[in-house]
């Protein structure tokens, strides 16, 4: 939540409380005492979380940065980071190994510090989120560097740890894009750790995709169940868990439709066809459940995954026989069809809701 929105929320709660007092004086607020207490406790909790998240009051809140400004600042940031990394690369050979260790471990912390400074200044969350994302990428790179420094071979645990770090920062920033990406990486890392737990290497991953499906389902379940311990300010972040879970499980399900990707015993062809059937049924179930249960993530997630499934299967069946020109035309037509289909589905979904 941006500081501007946090101020709006504070003002709304204050307005509600003032109006409630007036209505009570007029005898027009017939809620039971328990219900009033519950509402007050909820609002107190929201205000507490808004305070602890570092958002400033309405007076100090900044306006969200314009997209042009964001693009320019992002480009500038990447240029600066690129120059600094190039300079480090040039002097890397001259550093001692412990000097390399200190440098590698401090870069993510520098990004995190800058992110927190911007957050505490009440600037647009875009920049603090961007720096938090860079910090997560830097943690992943740092872990790869440290394994190399100590002559170990990098494993999937790195992705799990860096994903968890990024997901935590995503929650800190209350950024669904950062949270979703990092949770996806974390789920992928978890799935990879499970898949190679018997001592296999990365090469074996494409042949055992069920752990990724399970990791995706796990992420989705965490995002779908109501956890009372979650502070109200973090409740919207459950959406990131659901999105990343759907993406990971859905992609794994689509990939399992190809022969030789399953860990289960049985004939490759039979297994692939079984997973294809499961994918069709599950994606349809997601769309139907999302529509009738008014669950937007499921509805749109199921739609996207169904469309992706159709494209992948079509490409697999006829892609080899098409020329590059036909493939390009087909891709354009599919993008157009997808956009039309999505606008149609949006209208259907909104009409159903009203």
């Amino acid at each position: 939540m941006t500081s501007h929105r946090a101020a709006q929320r504070r003002n709304a709660i204050a307005g509600f409380r003032a109006e409630q007092r007036r209505l009570e004086e007029l005898g027009l607020f017939p809620l039971a005492t328990d219900a009033k207490k519950a509402i007050r406790a909820y609002h107190d909790e929201v205000l507490h979380d808004l305070d602890s998240s570092g958002a400033r009051t309405g007076e100090g809140a900044e306006y969200p940065a314009h997209w042009g400004m964001r693009l320019a600042a992002t480009a500038g940031l990447f240029v600066i980071v690129g120059i600094v990394l190039y300079m480090i690369d040039q002097s890397w050979a001259a550093l001692s190994n412990w000097g390399r260790f200190v440098l590698a471990t401090s870069i993510p912390l520098v990004f995190l510090f800058l992110s927190e400074v911007i957050l505490s200044l009440g600037r647009s969350r875009y920049f603090s989120t961007l720096l938090a994302g860079l910090s997560a990428v830097a943690v992943c790179s740092m872990l790869v560097l440290l394994t190399r420094l100590f002559n170990q071979s990098p494993g999937p645990l790195i992705l799990l740890v860096a994903g968890g770090y990024g997901a935590a920062l995503g929650h800190r920033q209350q950024s669904i894009p950062l949270g979703s990406l990092a949770l996806f990486a974390m789920g992928f890392g978890l799935g990879a750790c499970l898949a190679v737990a018997d001592g296999s290497t990365w090469d074996a991953l494409p042949h055992r995709l069920e752990p990724f499906l399970l990791a995706g389902i796990g992420l989705f379940v965490v995002g779908a169940i109501k956890i009372k311990a979650i502070p109200p300010a973090l409740a919207p972040m459950q959406c990131a868990w659901r999105i990343s879970g759907l993406a990971l499980a859905g992609l794994a399900l689509i990939a399992l439709g190809f022969e030789g990707t399953s860990l289960l015993p049985g004939l490759h062809t039979t297994l692939a066809k079984g997973w294809q059937l499961a994918a069709v049924l599950i994606f349809l179930a997601l769309i139907i459940t999302g529509y009738f249960a008014r669950w937007r993530d499921l509805f749109y997630g199921g739609t996207h995954l169904s469309f992706l499934f159709i494209i992948v299967r079509l490409y697999h069946w006829i892609g080899a026989d098409l020329s590059i020109g036909l493939k390009a035309v087909g891709a354009l037509a599919l993008v157009g069809l997808f956009m039309w289909l999505m606008s149609l589905l949006c209208r259907i979904y909104i009409r159903g809701r009203t």
Binding site: S120, N151, S200
Partner: protein
């Protein structure tokens, strides 16, 4: 301005992940270095590949830091290769009916720094690669099979098991091909000019002392110049 006005729970979680990642790597390195050694090799320049592309990005990409341990499998006699392949194939993967055609597994390999490479092979003319002479899923299986006094070491490695009806172990390789060098070693390597290979003969100018620890990870104990070319 007040940083972290109230320590947010998410920051603590991020800190735990950060600390956990660093701690796992450091503790693994400590176990490797503080435990018993699993071999020590003295390798002259002609048993190594010097790689001048070192830096932050090179290390991120493939771990390059100036030197590569180029190891080649040399499982002779051929009947021994067959029994070794069967031993490698005794892991849990190859027992399943639905196993894919080839799977890369991590394990341990025995390196021999003194055995002569087969003269019939073309690379023997100038370079004498490090030889892989044995392999197994666990280190315990190899302890009885190598002799550290004869220039052998047990290192972490990868091998591929082909499920073609007859086991094959054609692709053995080291898990760490690019060991990280100390700063002094890097500096010395940088001073060396490229080899003059006009007569296609390698002349060793330095000796690398490389050790393998309790977990089979290598570290460089030293790199010293040689006074003259080795025979």
């Amino acid at each position: 301005m007040r940083l972290w006005p109230r320590s947010h729970f998410s920051l603590w979680i991020a800190g735990i992940f950060y600390g956990l990642g660093v701690l796992v790597i450091l503790s693994t390195a400590a176990i490797n270095r503080l435990g018993p050694e699993s071999g020590r090799l003295g390798l002259d320049e002609c048993r190594l590949v010097t790689d001048r592309h070192s830096g932050l990005f090179a290390m991120l990409r493939d771990g390059s830091d100036g030197i590569r341990l180029a190891a080649t499998a040399d499982l002779s006699p051929s009947s021994y290769a067959r029994s070794l392949a069967e031993r490698l194939g005794s892991g849990p993967l190859v027992q399943t009916e639905n196993n894919h055609s080839q799977s890369s597994l991590s394990g341990y390999i025995v390196l021999d720094a003194k055995r002569k490479y087969d003269a019939g092979k073309p690379s023997a003319q100038s370079k004498r690669p490090l030889l892989i002479v044995d392999s197994a899923r666990s280190m315990d299986q190899l302890v009885q099979r190598y002799d550290p006094d004869l220039g052998m070491a047990v290192a972490r490695g990868y091998y591929q098991v082909a499920n073609t009806g007859q086991w094959s172990d054609q692709k053995l390789r080291l898990a760490v091909e690019y060991p990280t060098l100390p700063r002094a070693a890097r500096h010395m390597l940088k001073q060396l000019l490229p080899q003059d290979d006009a007569d296609n003969a390698c002349r060793s100018r330095f000796l690398l002392d490389i050790r393998y620890g309790a977990l089979g990870h290598p570290w460089i104990a030293g790199l010293r110049p040689l006074s003259g070319p080795t025979p």
